[in-house]
């Protein structure tokens, strides 16, 4: 079917391996995503916190620089689990906004334009379609979450020495697992919202609402009932707990309320306990299962009207 021949001819060449075809979707989608200068600018900004992190790590190990700046090394933030956990959480927030910008139109646009039959009439399954669409976010978010954090960890190890690396090796799994869990949640949430709502703006609003409304509600319930158990419905709180658990910094007691009598004698002390880690993991797991069930229900070539 050459341009000059103008006839129909079958394709006689080689075919690509089936297992890697889902990567075609992110390759084509990412090209479109970076066509937006605004998004590209925002994505570049996402690399600023790791840059700050790198500078802080560097300063910790550069006596000359500290002397010039007249700063004592003890005045600097210590490079420990809290340090990396803080930056993982900052990057998590940025990842949320990237997901908010990129995620909602991914499936909704295809649903609105009836494009699903075009994908699914080919040797390309629904699973591959969902994985392909999720890969767009998994790739984008990996570059701003666990990948730079891992590089920072290696940078710190390089400067501090092998002994530090060996004693903090668990931090590697904390960085990678917390990063992957968070971007997986964001990818699933945005795909699910995108599959349920055909309009991008509505889908973005719904995603924002889905994350913030339960968090606000949880905050109100916590305040009224003097508890922290309502955090079980807040995605951010759950993720903070899970991340802290992975870094080994999790403490269930996040506050104390002391009730005193008129003589200022403490008559009762209430401990504000976060939900246990196992409960946080179970809720996150259920959240993923619900998202997958919705995607299984919605991502079809055609809706069947029964």
């Amino acid at each position: 079917m050459a341009v000059y021949e103008q006839t129909y001819k079958p394709y006689k060449g080689t075919l690509t391996p089936e297992g890697s075809r889902f990567l075609i979707i992110p390759r084509h989608t990412l090209r479109g995503v970076f066509n937006s200068k605004l998004f590209t600018a925002f994505y570049v900004i996402c690399f600023l916190p790791p840059l700050v992190e790198a500078v802080l790590i560097y300063l910790h190990h550069n006596v000359t620089a500290l002397a010039i700046m007249n700063v004592n090394a003890r005045q600097l933030i210590p490079i420990d689990a809290y340090f990396f956990q803080t930056f993982v959480q900052i990057q998590g927030w940025l990842a949320f906004f990237v997901a908010l910008l990129v995620g909602p139109p991914l499936v909704s646009r295809d649903l609105r334009n009836n494009a699903l039959p075009l994908y699914l009439c080919r040797p390309f399954s629904r699973t591959e379609y969902v994985i392909g669409k999720m890969s767009v976010l998994l790739i984008l978010l990996s570059w701003i979450t666990w990948v730079p954090q891992l590089l920072m960890f290696l940078f710190q190890s390089y400067l501090e020495g092998f002994a530090w690396f060996r004693s903090n090796l668990l931090m590697v799994s904390a960085i990678v697992i917390s990063g992957i869990v968070w971007i997986l949640l964001l990818a699933l949430l945005s795909q699910t919202v995108s599959a349920l709502l055909k309009w991008r703006i509505v889908a973005s609003g719904a995603m924002l609402g889905f994350v913030f409304i339960p968090s606000v509600f949880a905050g109100i319930v916590n305040l009224i009932f003097q508890t922290r158990w309502a955090n079980i419905i807040s995605l951010f709180a759950l993720m903070n707990n899970v991340t802290a658990g992975l870094f080994g910094t999790f403490d269930r007691i996040t506050g104390r309320i002391q009730i005193s009598d008129f003589d200022d004698n403490v008559v009762r002390e209430i401990l504000l306990l976060e939900p246990p880690l196992w409960a946080c993991w179970i809720v996150l797991f259920l959240f993923c299962a619900v998202c997958l069930a919705i995607l299984h229900w919605k991502v079809k070539a055609y809706e069947v009207v029964r």
Binding site: P10, Y11, T16, A115, P123, A301, V305, R306
Partner: protein
């Protein structure tokens, strides 16, 4: 590692030989949506080069195509395409199929060439080959000059052509075209019909054309499958059906038509009065036109006009709708 393409190099014959697996083999295929049966126990093997899928609204044409594509699971029975089962070998079948959906379908914010290239890549073509064939397919369907425009800016006719381009870009062996001329103006329709006939005549692909427009099917297809209420009303080779069908004679007479009609009846011919002085006669075996001239002379009736007419697709379709299931 690249896999060898499974597309045959030899052009296909007009009809697949009986020793070869049929293009589509229906084994009691039934599909229900909830408790509502849509396709009921479809049986038969379709071997035509271009098969027209006809039927009134809601007959199950699109559902049949979707089921063959693996979009709907059969409630009972199964079907095979080129000898491969639609339930167990969906992926292998899909690699041999091109599909042009009925509804407006495209990927937003993409130029036509980007869109067709993506579709080719999803069919398994390497990136460079996909790009090359995307250009070729778009030139072939007549969108060469507009291939860098975004699909959202295309007219309905151009979108139909872009859909055809994505259906043929990977060189499938079987192409499902669901209402390809829907919403097209007459020149665009002619262009689409011409392309379908060219693909058919190239001998490299079988076509299943679903349409409400009998003329489209008549112009493109050599076999027809008429569905009625989810069942096969007719499956026949159009040309053979026309040949084997009884010949009609359209006659215009002057004189005493009643006597002439009685005489025709005595000859054993069926007739229908289709207007003033006009008769539609079905010639029985052994009856020739000269017998009619003789009768006319005997009854003092003038034959002003006499023309042969074979069953049109419309006749076949209407009969199928009247007769019920199982063929003419």
């Amino acid at each position: 590692m690249a896999l060898p393409a499974s597309v045959p190099e030899e052009p296909i014959k007009t009809h697949t030989a009986l020793t070869e697996p049929p293009v589509i083999d229906l084994h009691g295929l039934s599909v229900s949506f909830g408790n509502r049966p849509i396709l009921k126990n479809l049986r038969g093997d379709l071997r035509g080069k271009a098969i027209g899928l006809l039927g009134p609204n809601g007959a199950g044409k699109t559902t049949l195509i979707h089921t063959l594509l693996g979009f709907h699971a059969p409630s009972s029975g199964t079907a095979q395409i080129f000898g491969m089962d639609i339930i167990d070998q969906t992926k292998q079948i899909r690699s041999l199929i091109g599909y042009m959906p009925e509804r407006d379908s495209f990927i937003a914010k993409m130029s036509a060439v980007h869109f067709v290239r993506l579709m080719a890549e999803l069919s398994g073509l390497p990136s460079e080959a996909a790009l090359e064939r995307a250009h070729e397919a778009l030139f072939y369907v007549g969108l060469g000059e507009a291939r860098y425009r975004r699909l959202e800016t295309y007219s309905l006719g151009m979108k139909q052509l872009a859909k055809l381009a994505q259906a043929i870009v990977h060189g499938p062996r079987l192409i499902f075209l669901d209402e390809p001329t829907n919403g097209l103006d007459p020149p665009a329709r002619l262009r689409m019909i011409k392309l379908i006939r060219e693909i058919r005549d190239s001998g490299h692909a079988h076509i299943v054309l679903s349409s409400h427009l009998l003329l489209d099917v008549e112009e493109c297809c050599d076999e027809i499958l008429i569905l009625k209420d989810g069942q096969i009303a007719v499956y026949c080779n159009l040309e053979e059906e026309r040949k084997s069908n009884r010949k009609f004679l359209m006659i215009e007479t002057r004189g005493d038509q009643e006597k002439f009609v009685k005489a025709i009846q005595q000859l054993g011919c069926e007739y229908a009065i289709s207007g003033d002085h006009r008769l539609k006669i079905v010639l029985q075996e052994g009856v020739e036109v000269r017998d009619l001239y003789r009768l006319a002379e005997e009854q003092q009736v003038q034959l002003r006009r006499l023309s042969y007419k074979r069953d049109s697709l419309e006749d076949i379709f209407l009969k199928a709708m009247e007769n019920g299931y199982g063929g003419l």
